[in-house]
Amino acid sequence: MMDVRPGADFPPDLFHALLSQQMVYRCDADDRIVDVNPAGVRLLGYASAQDLIGTPMADLYASPEDRGYLHSLMREHGAVRDLEVVLRQRDGTLVFVLETAVASPRAEVGDVDSSYWGVMKDISDRVEAQRNQLHTNLELAETNRLLKATQSRLVQQEKLASVGQLAAGLAHEINNPLSFIISNLDTLRSYVTALNRGLSAVEGLIPEDALRDHRQIREEHHLDEIAADLEDLFRESRHGLDHITSVVHSLRTFSRSGIGQSQTMVDLNEALESTLVIARNELKQGITLHRDLSPLPPVSCRADEINQVILNLLLNAVHAIRSRHTDAPGTITVRTLAQPDGVVLEVEDNGPGIASQNLRRVFEPFFTTKPVGEGTGLGLSISYDIVVNRHRGDLSVSSEPGRGARFTVRLPLSGETEET
């Protein structure tokens, strides 16, 4: 049993009772345990003091470097008070203790070879309580952020659903008159052709002496030019109407939306084409679009959500290119690829790229490098949520600063999606 003696005025029983609550140890000049009390044996999970005699103190520390730190304090001050260290019990369990150590009374301050005494007080319960409190706070903060992000996503989806409904309504309203305008134009064209043929036939019946007057009338009213223009006018009008038809079709495809839309079989190339029509206005100013599309098998997905992802990636690429503030040509390449277990869509731009420290954060909600007020920082996080969480797919990014960025969407063929 370790022999620790109280001062002359201190009741020995009380002194030993107090000390028996804490580990007390003594080390030799090599920092090996020479003596340790029963409380120390218990604290470290050993059967007897003999098991610990000769053990280097550093071996009992979870981090031996901390023992070196204690030595440096001892050298500097001759004593250490309440240094928090982590000890490793025999079975590997870690315990937090406060260590107080003093140099042997026979040693001088700064004498590193001297032995010393130490007392260790177990504070694991206190540390555990503080730790739990901090953990709870951190987890609450994380939950709050998640709720905020989810709320923003819902608001954004709500807005997109409204825009989708508006677009679908507009498309429907335009589609009806468009159908009869196309139909009427085609009829008009055939009538005009018939009229021309009739007039030519009638001209053949005009007597020779009236032909001069006839030509004069034709010239006065520019009938020949009008006849020549008519075909162009019909062709251009038909071309314009075909374009309106295609936009209306794209709007309807894009906005096959609404909250709770179920999965359908979608050709990603078609989804891409209809979204490109929607983004056309953004894409045409100083940006060249390259298509590198492969035939794809249809995948089961929520079309409205995937269209939203494609639009987000396209607009993101456009904004990246615009952020360069140069007149150098911007290029966006869209690429699709079939793989054995899914389909891949890539959107690549030659914008400024993404700094390496931002690369892993681009999918975080509210992360944006755009100036305040120009980006919500939600587009990519919503896209990530749609692809990864709701379609069990993958959305990744690669970038070399100064040389653009590439976003890659992978969707599985078997589109098991999360329930709405």
Binding site: S63, E84, Q130, H135, A355
Partner: protein, 124 residues
């Protein structure tokens, strides 16, 4: 943008008042601010450390990341970890990311033992 000179003054005063813990502003990319932490961070100085770093955070409006170079941090106690956890929560609420760099094995061990490593970006 934080005034680097003002930040240096803030930390100079802290360093004068605290033995054993030294804070120094470091060069960083434009959207980040950096601080090197040397010495020991424990129950004796964790509260002051928290105060001065929160004051610094107030000055760092508009930055996206705070970098802490911990290569010179020789010792940390659970109170020191607590100071970083409080700072993490404050930074996250402002949309600022926290990166702790070059942790020594004993400093990393306390983060690990207390189970906080997963909440932080810790880099060797």
């Amino acid at each position: 943008m934080a005034d680097m000179h003002a930040s240096q003054q803030l930390f100079q005063q802290f360093n004068n008042e605290h033995n054993g813990l030294a804070l120094q502003v470091q060069e960083c990319p434009p959207e980040a601010r950096g601080l090197s932490v040397s010495g020991h961070l424990d129950t004796t100085n964790a509260a002051s450390f928290s105060r001065v770093v929160h004051a610094w955070l107030d000055e760092c409006g508009g930055v996206r990341e705070l970098w802490f170079d911990l290569a010179g941090l020789r010792y940390i106690s659970s109170s020191g970890i607590g100071a970083f956890v409080q700072l993490l929560m404050e930074a996250q609420s402002r949309g600022v990311a926290l990166r702790l760099l070059d942790l020594g094995p004993n400093v990393q061990a306390v983060f690990d033992v207390l189970g906080f490593s997963r909440f932080f970006v810790l880099e060797k």
